[in-house]
């Protein structure tokens, strides 16, 4: 479902003497349906960079990133927009929402974008928020006023609202209490059971052991320093 072939990435900093910084080369990776692959490697080794390249907000220098048959490295913006709408979900560490939009609406939005009727989208959103222990009295409020842990749970609910065939998870269990962490691990296992291909970053080793089928160390993709 997710296939990365000989991928490389550079950053060119034009305002700092056009410094060219190679950050990744010869990255290869495969995530099949129903499989969860965990990215490991020290902080700064390129786990998030790789994930953003799959999401399409970081450009690749060369190589291919196939998600559901579309090469994200070469696709038109509108193809990536359609991919994100139907096929590829992303739970990032940051919640970016229009201020003052109620939490229930924020979680239901991916389903509304797919043309689902509002009552169905909201029922699904309510179900997820309840499972993730967000008290119902908060649903009508904007998540921008929530604590970090609550925002994280809203982000997870939003990411799991639509049953995407492919999912990117960036530290989904960070800053969660033990009970909610269990709920999130269950959501991940359920997604795997319905056939989702999942690429994730988990610093929490127990979480990693519970959901990952394989681990990939991104240090293998760090460019070799020229002699």
């Amino acid at each position: 479902m997710i296939e990365i072939r000989d991928l490389s990435k550079n950053f060119v900093l034009h305002n700092q003497g056009s410094a060219m910084i190679p950050v990744m080369e010869h990255a290869n990776l495969h995530v099949g349906a129903g499989e969860c692959v965990g990215l490991i490697g020290a902080s700064g080794a390129g786990k998030s960079t790789l994930m953003r390249m799959v999401w399409g907000n970081y450009l690749a220098a060369s190589g291919a990133i196939l998600v559901g048959g579309l090469d994200v490295a070469r696709a038109e913006p509108r193809q990536i927009i359609a991919l994100r709408r139907r096929t590829l979900g992303y739970v990032s560490q940051f919640l970016r929402v229009v201020p003052r939009v109620p939490t229930l609406q924020v979680v239901a939005e991916p389903l509304l974008n797919l043309g689902l009727p509002a009552y169905q989208a909201q029922a699904r959103a309510a179900d997820l928020l309840a499972r993730l222990n967000i008290p119902e009295r908060l649903w009508s409020l904007s998540p921008t006023t929530f604590s970090g842990g609550e925002q994280q749970r809203v982000n997870i609910a939003r990411g799991f609202a639509h049953p995407y065939p492919a999912l990117l998870l960036d530290e989904p269990t960070a800053s969660l209490d033990a009970a909610t962490r269990e709920v999130v691990l269950h959501l991940i296992l359920e997604a795997k059971a319905r056939g989702a291909a999942i690429l994730g970053i988990f610093h929490d080793e127990a979480a990693r052991a519970a959901v990952c089928d394989r681990l990939v160390d991104v240090r293998a993709f760090t460019p070799k320093v020229a002699a």
């Binding site: 305002n15 953003r52 970081y58 450009l59 927009i81 229009v98 974008n113 169905q120 699904r124 049953p163």
Partner: protein, 269 residues
């Protein structure tokens, strides 16, 4: 209800662009207004155009919307009867399109509203311009649209002068969208509004774009606004498009020196 039972809209089909722009250029004497602009906009897409003042973004928007005559290039719009170049179209026909298929939301509501006419009149006038004649129907539609932009029905007979800036802007949006356009041009639609009012307007615009399947071209200097509103982004400098792509890609991994400077200059909040 199982997630898998949910009925989804049919997959996005290969479709023709709603607007196809090729080599568009406008000179002000020796000075470049905008030059070599080409892009396609598809149905349902929101395109953001950013750049500093003087970058050519407003000139480009005016050329696209037919308010300015470009010196060269094509602006091909997919009309009900097929693609038409609006640059070479007769003035009368272009005006008719501007009233039906297109809408233009000005930064200053005073430029887009009739300040001496009631709120209901502002909305109803657009319906009459395309042939509506039945008073009851027009008033009912006006009330419906005021509701959609969150203006209470008991304000229908008030003039926009009595409205706050945010309400005026929402009224301008209602006046523009009542005729069911396919494409909306917006020039700094949230400029000059308080931040909290901006948020409400952004949410309203997002909902309308989704529900009406609108395409929109939004000119702004506010990167936070485009991140929340636009699918795609175009960065302009000195009349030229220096970079374009997915909005989050351009903002998170800018390639051009100018875009890198622009993104890194935003104050973090």
């Amino acid at each position: 209800m199982g997630v898998m039972d949910m009925k989804l809209a049919p997959p996005d089909q290969a479709e023709a662009p709603l607007l196809s722009v090729r080599d568009l250029g406008k000179m002000y004497g020796e000075r470049i207004g905008c030059a070599d602009v080409s892009f396609d906009l598809y149905p349902g897409e929101v395109l953001g155009i950013v750049g500093e003042s003087g970058s050519g973004k407003s000139t480009l928007l005016s050329c696209l919307a037919g308010h300015l005559q470009p010196d060269q290039g094509q602006v091909v719009f997919q009309t009900a009867t097929g693609p038409r170049d609006t640059v070479t179209m007769a003035e009368a026909e272009r005006r008719r399109m501007a009233r039906t298929d297109w809408a233009f939301v000005h930064q200053n509501p005073r430029d887009g509203l009739r300040m001496g006419v009631s709120a209901g009149g502002n909305v109803g006038e657009r319906l009459m311009a395309i042939g509506a004649r039945h008073y009851g129907d027009i008033r009912a539609q006006a009330i419906d649209w005021l509701g959609r932009v969150e203006i209470r029905p008991d304000r229908i007979d008030d003039r926009p002068r009595a409205f706050s800036g945010g309400m005026q802007q929402r009224l301008q949006i209602a006046r523009n969208l009542v005729t069911g356009p396919k494409l909306v041009f917006m020039d700094e639609p949230t400029g000059g509004l308080d931040v909290s009012v901006q948020a409400r307007l952004l949410d309203l615009l997002r909902g309308l774009v989704r529900e009406m399947g609108l395409s929109a071209i939004i000119v702004t200097h506010d990167l936070a606004v485009v991140r929340l509103l636009a699918d795609r982004l175009m960065v302009m400098k000195d009349g030229h498009v220096v970079e374009q792509g997915l909005t989050d890609q351009v903002l998170d991994d800018p390639q051009h020196a100018y875009t890198q400077l622009l993104v890194s200059s935003v104050l973090q909040v």
